[in-house]
Symmetry: C2
């Protein structure tokens, strides 16, 4: 069966319409749709349109507040704390990114902490919003339990992604978006579906032992990259996103699929205005030089070398020009939501 | 042979005196001595007193500028660029940390980029200077080539440490200080000295193949934690510390032992004022709670669980109260320098 590509912007509007018809205001619906289709287009499907039905369900049952009053609780110079009022993480982080850019324009840098938020999708989306302004964007969030503090096997820490986006002159930005675990939980779920074993080193079972059984791994904890390093990175991100902002921390952030109430997730968003450190044109030309230099290095397998985010940038560009391929199951879910909210089906 | 502990503060003054007698001003000599003995006391001996002779040699041959004019080149609001004038990384980063704290007191956050610097020892030293002020300190530096961009085997990136220090109420701070490589090069050098093989996964040989031969590993590249993750983290740190500040980058930072000229290292130093995001007392009590919670988790091997930096904090405290143990070779080197600079030998 040939994969069918659907028009990018039509799908995006369709997703926005679902949120609108489910009762969210238009502006916020557009933000969520844009961030979700961005993830989908970049190939990060685990954070793409597969999430729409969960987000809508959260809204419907009140686990996420669709009438949230996103507001600045504290602001002093270049630092601000935003209270998301249990609204959408996407909306809070979008406003947070805009605020970080505004602060950085005035003060050279801007740091925005966000409290009482929820799952915000891919961190790189917000880092790229910032790097579109000749700034470096750094974004992180805490998340529901997955990784254990080093030495233990009780998952108290999230995979806690760190995203950094750095603009270039003639190319797309360099976009790092990494979690602290060796693999995403999605890969283990996939192995389970396929009835395959997983490699030792991906996860521990619920008793802290190495395991190649995806079932036990899903009940246990994900192993962090570099042992104490990944676990330590996840911890300090949790302390900054969770404790500093006054959100939940160390195991208390609820999973996005847990509809019993607010997840109390915290985010941190930083913008660095390049012009305060260097000539912007020189900086961006230097980044171009770095990209060229790295792309022309000899490779381990005689295969192309990709910069962080390059594969995703290419996929996004292709999706925008040629259309987006939806997983049949995701399309079915979206069509069900269309039915429910009196929209024309996507197909 | 019983290990002999020497008085911490006497050793520190002795080290400062070496720098003073070698022609460095008193204030800068004290800063360097303090940061070196801090690393030594914390058990990070690779960045401790073993470095004294190299630093002094750099000064003597002019590779590091002992009369450097550390100056603020740019400042706007909460962001500043410091030109280290090819002086000591320790002095530049010390001033940079103080400046970041001053900026954060006024603007809630402060970011200081440092250019034209040299090796600054352990990044956590400066992060802890910041966290002593009820702030979170984040410090990084680029460094000489060690890790390859992902997909290649040509080491263009440094191990580029990232340090984060977070204060607590009744305990020492939580101090993450991680490099992007699976192991430090020192571990491979040690294996070579002992004529031992190294595990696959530590390094690649000069042709990009896995190797268990420490000799080939030292000629090749160190493997990053988490593959593209560690390599990507090292890259973005290089771009922020190197390209943003206008220092060297992607393979052009000289090793501290290369006396042929300035290393042109760049650093980045950030301070976040906790009071701009949360009540400081509540924050620090919450960090205490996190420490207690993690320490009381069940452990993989029924052994004590340590927070990031805890082992180092304990070692430093012991060294300060009971004295410091010097490696015989380091002591011999220090005594040689004492002879040269008309000081009483350390023993």
């Amino acid at each position: 069966m040939k994969e069918e590509r659907m028009p990018f912007y039509a799908v995006k509007e369709f997703v926005a319409d679902i949120f609108k018809n489910a009762g969210l205001n238009a502006a916020h619906s557009e933000i969520i749709a844009d961030s979700l289709i961005c993830a989908e287009a970049r190939g990060i499907k685990s954070h793409g349109l597969v999430r729409v039905s969960t987000y809508v369900s959260r809204m419907e049952c009140g686990a996420t507040n669709k009438n949230a009053n996103y507001r600045i609780e504290k602001i002093k110079g270049a630092a601000a704390l935003l209270d998301a009022d249990n609204g959408f993480g996407q909306v809070a982080a979008y406003y947070g990114s805009k605020l970080a850019v505004t602060l950085a324009k005035r003060y050279g840098t801007g740091v925005v902490g966000i409290k009482n938020s929820n799952h915000f999708g891919i961190a790189s989306y917000y880092a790229m919003l910032i790097s579109d302004n000749d700034m470096i964007g750094i974004v992180s969030t805490n998340s529901s339990p997955a990784i254990a503090p080093f030495g233990s096997y009780i998952p108290l820490l999230g995979t806690n992604p760190l995203a950094v986006s750095i603009p270039s002159k003639t190319k797309k930005p360099i976009v790092l978006d990494m979690s602290a675990s060796v693999v995403a939980r999605g890969k283990i779920r996939l192995a389970k579906l396929k009835n395959e074993k997983i490699p030792i080193g991906w996860a521990l079972d619920p008793y802290g032992k190495d395991t190649d059984d995806p079932d036990l791994a899903l009940k246990g904890s994900l192993l962090p990259i570099g042992g104490p390093k990944g676990s330590g990175l996840s911890l300090v991100i949790d302390l900054i996103c969770g404790v500093l902002t006054g959100s939940s921390f160390t195991g208390e952030v609820k999973n996005v699929t847990d509809m019993s109430g607010p997840s109390k997730t915290g985010h941190i968003i930083m913008a660095l205005d390049i012009s305060c450190f260097n000539d912007v044109n020189k900086f961006k030309r230097d980044i171009d030089r770095v990209i060229k230099k790295i792309k022309s290095l000899p490779s381990v397998n005689n295969s192309e070398i990709f910069l962080p985010g390059e594969i995703e940038n290419n996929a996004e560009e292709k999706a925008k020009s040629e259309g987006i391929i939806l997983d049949p199951k995701v399309r079915e879910e979206l069509n069900k939501l269309a039915d429910k909210y009196n929209l024309n089906k996507i197909l």
